[in-house]
Amino acid sequence: MTLLEESIRELSRRLRDREVSAVQLAQEALARAEELDPALGAFLRLTPELALDAAAAADRRLQEDPDGCSILCGIPVAYKDVVCTKGVETTAASRILRGFVPPYSATVVDRLSALGVVALGKLNCDEFAMGSSNENSAYQVTRNPWDPERVAGGSSGGSAVAVAARLACVTLGSDTGGSIRLPASFSGVVGVKPTYGRVSRYGLIAFASSLDQIGPLSKTVEDAALVLTAIAGQDPRDSTSVQAPVDGFLNELRNGVRGLHLGIPREYLEVGLDAGVRAVFEQSVRTLEGLGAVVEEVSLPTTEYALSAYYVIAPAEASSNLARMDGVRFGPGFTDAVTLQEAYERARHEGFGDEVRRRVTLGTYALSSGYYDAYYLRAQKVRTLVAQDFDRAFAQVDAIISPVAPTAAFRLGERTADPMAMYATDVLTLPANLAGIAGVSVPAGFADGLPVGLQVLGPYLGEAVCLRVAQSLETEAGVWNKLPPLALSSQ
C-alpha cells in the first residue's frame, strides 16, 4: 500500500493533520518512479530537487496556515511534456526541442504552483502530441501497466500511466482528438477533456490550436474535478479562453443521475466495437439505468465524416504551428549548412519523427492554393455539421455516453505500420474536439484483463454533468482502486 493510492481529499487531510509531510510524500513518489518507471517509461525526466523544494515550501504553508491552504497543497503532480515549465527542459517528446528550457511556465502550471502542488517531472507522450499509442515519442515508448506488451494509448500516455501506476497523484495531459480520454481508458484512469476555451492553452506547445485542450488525469472523478476547478477559468494570455463559472464541477458531483437523460449515439455503435468493449459498455448502461438515468438513442449522422475532417484540420494547423521549429532559436541548429534552405531542411528532417513529418506534409498540402477549398474549407464545413449534430442531440439529452475507443489497449507495434488503422483509434473521441464540447473518460470495467473506459460527453461548458455521470458510474463500477501489475513495488 502506497500513499499514492489515496485520493487527493484523503492525502490533503493527512498533510493537514501532519500524519505525513509533503516532503515524505514527494520522496515516496520519487522513489516509486525510480523503481517502477524504467519498466513503464512514463517520465521523460524527473526533477527531484525542484520537487523536494516545492514540497518543503508546501510543508511550511501547511504549518503556517493549514486552513488557508488549497486542498492541492503538497499533492504530487506531473506534466505532459508539451506543457511548458520554466527552467525545466520541455521537448514535446521531439528531438527538435531537445535542450529547450522555457523561460516561462504555462498558465496551468503557474496556477497549480501557486496552490502549492509538488511537480515531480515531465511525462512522455507522442511527439508533439501526434499519435494514439505513445509510440511516436522520439525518446521512449510508454508501456501499459496492465500489460507491458501493450500500448499506453496516446498521446498523453505518460500522463495516464503515471497515475495508473501510482507514480503521481494526478497529472495533466492534452487532448486534441482523444489524447487524454484514450490513454485514460487504456490505462484505467479518469481523464477529462474540458470544453474548448475552458482551460488556458498559454504555454501548451500547440499541435492544433483550435482543438487542443489541457485536462487532468486522475484516479478518481473527484480528483479530476478538484484539479479542473484549479486550472479552469479565463486567462488574459489566451484569447480563446472563456469566462464562465467553474464551481459546478464539485458542487454537482454527487447529485447522481436520477432523471438525467443520457443519449447513446447510434452511429458510435457501428464502428466495429470489440466484443469485450461492447460488453463493458452495455454493463455501464445497465448500471446507469439502475441508478435512475433515462437512456435513449440519439443520432450524430456526420460521425462518418468527422475522422476525415479532423485529419485535414489538425494537420493543417500543425503544419503552421510547427513552422517555428526551424532550428534558428532553439533545437539543434545547423550552422555548417551552406544555404538557409539546407539549414531548415536538416533541422526539420532530423528533428521531426515520421508521424510529425507525415502530418506536416498533409497539412501543408491541405492549405496550398488550389487545394484549400477542397480540403481545409470543406473540412471546416464538416466541422460545423458535427457541431450541429451535437447541438441537436443535446436538445434531446443531458449527456451522451459511448465507449472511448473501439478496442482496449492494443499490442505495441500492432498499428504503427498502418496510419489509417491508428487514426481510426480516435473515431469516437475526436468529434468532441471538432465540436469543442466537454468529455470525460471514466474506468468502467475490464475486457480480457484490460481496462475499458466509458466516455461521457456533455454540451458546451457541460463538464459538471459529465463529471456527475462519471462519478455515479465510478461508485458503482468499483474498478478505480484496482492496481495494475506494474504498479506493485517490491518495497
Binding site: 523561460p103 504555462a106 492553452r201 501548451l204 500547440a206 490550436s209 488574459p236 503552421s320 521549429m325 532559436r329
Partner: protein
C-alpha cells in the same frame, strides 16, 4: 488620359504602404513598440520570440489606430473581421508565419484626395488591414556572400498597418504626391511618425503600362526597397522607361518582383511569378474573430482630428490667409498648432503667419530644427508680435531680438524691455535726431531736394541708425519730407 510623353503608353501605378503604428506596445504582446536604439533582442518576450506555447493577444489600440486610419481614408468598416496566418519561412519571422489579415480586412473601399501637378486627384484605397512586423537581419557584409546573419527580434510583432491603394495613379509624380498626402494624413491623425529612412513608413509599388485608351491592364511589376520619396520617384521613372523600351521593341514583360537599387539607380529582378511564395493563408486559430460594433466605429470617429485639407480650407476662411500660406501652415500638425497658439493670444493672423513662415521658419531651417522644438514658444512670439502691432517696437528691432531669442531661449519681449529697445514715437525726440542728421548729411539733403529719391532712403537710414533702430520710421519719413520740401510737393 496621360500618355508617357512621346509614347503611346500610359502608366498604371498602385502603391502598397506599410506603416508602423504609434502604439505603446507590440501588436500581440506587451513589449515596447518603440524598439529603436535598444540592444539586440532585448525588447522580446515568449510571444514575439515565437517560443513554443506562447499565444498572441490583440492590442486594442492597434485596432483603434487602424480604424482611425480607415475612417480618415473614407473606408467601409465591416462588422466582422479576423486575423489570418501568412505562412513562410525566414529567419526574421520567428513563428514561421505572420499574423495578418487575408480575405476579411478591418476596412476596404476608401479614397484619398490630393493635389498633383497642379490638379486634384482622387485615388481609391482597396483596403487597410492590420498585421505584425518582422524582426531584422544583420548580415556580415552583403547578403549573398555573408558568412553569417544575425537575427534581431526587437521589431518582431510591432503593429504594422498595410494600406493598399487602387491602381489609380498615372505618373511617378502622381504616385509621389499620393504618398506625400498619405504620409501627411497618417502624421495628422497620430498613427505613424512618417519616417521613411528608419522604415516606420515603407512603400512598395505596382506598375504596368498599357496603350493609351486601353481598359485592360498590362503585365505588372512590383517594386520593393524604396525608402525615400526620391527613390519612389526615381524607381518608378526608371521602371516606366525600362518597360516602355521592352514594349516598344515588341518584347514581352514578365510579372515579377524587382528591387530598387539605390547604388545602381535601377531596378533588379528578385523573383518571378513562377517563384512566387505560397503563403497558405488560413484563419488564425489563436485569435477569435474581431467584431467591430457600430458604437466602436463612432467612438473612433469622434477621435478623428481635423484632416489636412479641411484645416487648410479653414485657415483660409477663418484667418483670411492666402492659399500658399495656408498650405505651409498646415503642412504638419505642429506647424498649425504653433500658428494657432500665436493667434490665440490675440495676434493678427496675417502678422503671425508672416513672422512664423518668414523669420522664424528661416531660423528653424538654418538650424535644421522643427518649429515645435525651437526655443521660441508660441507665447513668446505672440508677446513680441503684440509689441510690433502696438508700434512699441520696430520691425527691425523685433527681427534682431527674435534671432537672439532663438539662440538663447530668452523671452524676446523681455529683451526689448530690459535693453530699452522700445520704439520711439515722440515727435520732438525724433525731430532733434532728424535735424542733427540734416546737418551731418547736407549733401544727401540737397541731392534729395534736387530730385534724387534714393537720397531720402540714406537719410532715413541715418536717423534709424542714430536711434538704434527704435525710431518710428513713418514719423522719420514724414519729418524729413517736411524739412526738405521739393518743388513738386
Amino acid at each position: 488620359m496621360s500618355a508617357i510623353p512621346g509614347s503611346r503608353w500610359e502608366a498604371v501605378i498602385g502603391l502598397e504602404v506599410h506603416a508602423q503604428l504609434l502604439t505603446k506596445s507590440k501588436m500581440f504582446c506587451s513589449c515596447r513598440a518603440d524598439y529603436l536604439g535598444l540592444p539586440p533582442n532585448s525588447n522580446t518576450c515568449p510571444v514575439c520570440l515565437g517560443l513554443p506555447g506562447a499565444l498572441p493577444v490583440i492590442n486594442e489600440e492597434g485596432v483603434r489606430l487602424t480604424l482611425l486610419t480607415a475612417l480618415a481614408l473614407n473606408c467601409e468598416i465591416p462588422e466582422f473581421t479576423k486575423f489570418d496566418r501568412k505562412n513562410y519561412f525566414y529567419p526574421d519571422l520567428p513563428k514561421g508565419y505572420q499574423i495578418s489579415q487575408y480575405d476579411l480586412p478591418l476596412s476596404r473601399d476608401g479614397w484619398l484626395k490630393f493635389e498633383a501637378e497642379g490638379r486634384e486627384v482622387q485615388a481609391g484605397i482597396t483596403r487597410v488591414h492590420l498585421e505584425e512586423d518582422t524582426g531584422t537581419l544583420h548580415h556580415a557584409g552583403e547578403i549573398q556572400n555573408s558568412a553569417f546573419s544575425l537575427v534581431d527580434l526587437n521589431r518582431a510583432g510591432v503593429p504594422l498597418m498595410e494600406i493598399v491603394g487602387e491602381p489609380d495613379l498615372r505618373t511617378p509624380a502622381e504616385a509621389r504626391a499620393y504618398l506625400a498626402a498619405l504620409r501627411q494624413l497618417l502624421i495628422y491623425i497620430g498613427v505613424n511618425d512618417g519616417n521613411m529612412e528608419e522604415g516606420s513608413l515603407r512603400c512598395d509599388a505596382n506598375i504596368s503600362l498599357r496603350p493609351v485608351g486601353a481598359e485592360a491592364l498590362g503585365v505588372k511589376v512590383e517594386i520593393k526597397n524604396m525608402n525615400s520619396f526620391r527613390s519612389v520617384l526615381r524607381a518608378l521613372d526608371y521602371e516606366l522607361g525600362r518597360q516602355r523600351v521592352v514594349l516598344d521593341e515588341g518584347g514581352k514583360l514578365i510579372q515579377e518582383t524587382r528591387g530598387w537599387s539605390e547604388l545602381e539607380q535601377r531596378t533588379v529582378s528578385q523573383r518571378s511569378k513562377e517563384e512566387a511564395q505560397e503563403y497558405r493563408y488560413f484563419p488564425e486559430p489563436d485569435l477569435p474573430p474581431l467584431l467591430i460594433s457600430r458604437a466602436q466605429v463612432e467612438e473612433v470617429r469622434a477621435r478623428l482630428p481635423e484632416l489636412p485639407t479641411a484645416r487648410r480650407v479653414r485657415f483660409q476662411s477663418q484667418y483670411g490667409l492666402a492659399d500658399e500660406q495656408a498650405l505651409l501652415l498646415t503642412a504638419r500638425p505642429a506647424d498649425s498648432q504653433y500658428f494657432e497658439g500665436v493667434v490665440a493670444l490675440g495676434v493678427s493672423p496675417q502678422l503671425a503667419a508672416n513672422w512664423q513662415l518668414g523669420d522664424l521658419q528661416g531660423l528653424c531651417n538654418a538650424a535644421n530644427l522643427p518649429i515645435e522644438k525651437c526655443l521660441v514658444s508660441p507665447s513668446a512670439l505672440a508677446e513680441l508680435l503684440q509689441l510690433v502691432e502696438g508700434q512699441r517696437v520696430t520691425a527691425k528691432v523685433a527681427k534682431e531680438v527674435l534671432a537672439r531669442s532663438f539662440e538663447s531661449g530668452e523671452s524676446p519681449a523681455e529683451m526689448v524691455r530690459r535693453e530699452g529697445r522700445g520704439q520711439v514715437s515722440d515727435v520732438a525726440e525724433i525731430t532733434a535726431m532728424v535735424d542733427q542728421v540734416l546737418v551731418q548729411s547736407a549733401k544727401a539733403a540737397s541731392d534729395y531736394q534736387a530730385g534724387n529719391d534714393r537720397a531720402l532712403g540714406a537719410l532715413v537710414g541715418a536717423v534709424m541708425a542714430m536711434s538704434k533702430g527704435r525710431a518710428d520710421q513713418k514719423i522719420v519719413n514724414q519729418l524729413l519730407r517736411e524739412r526738405l520740401p521739393r518743388p513738386g510737393d
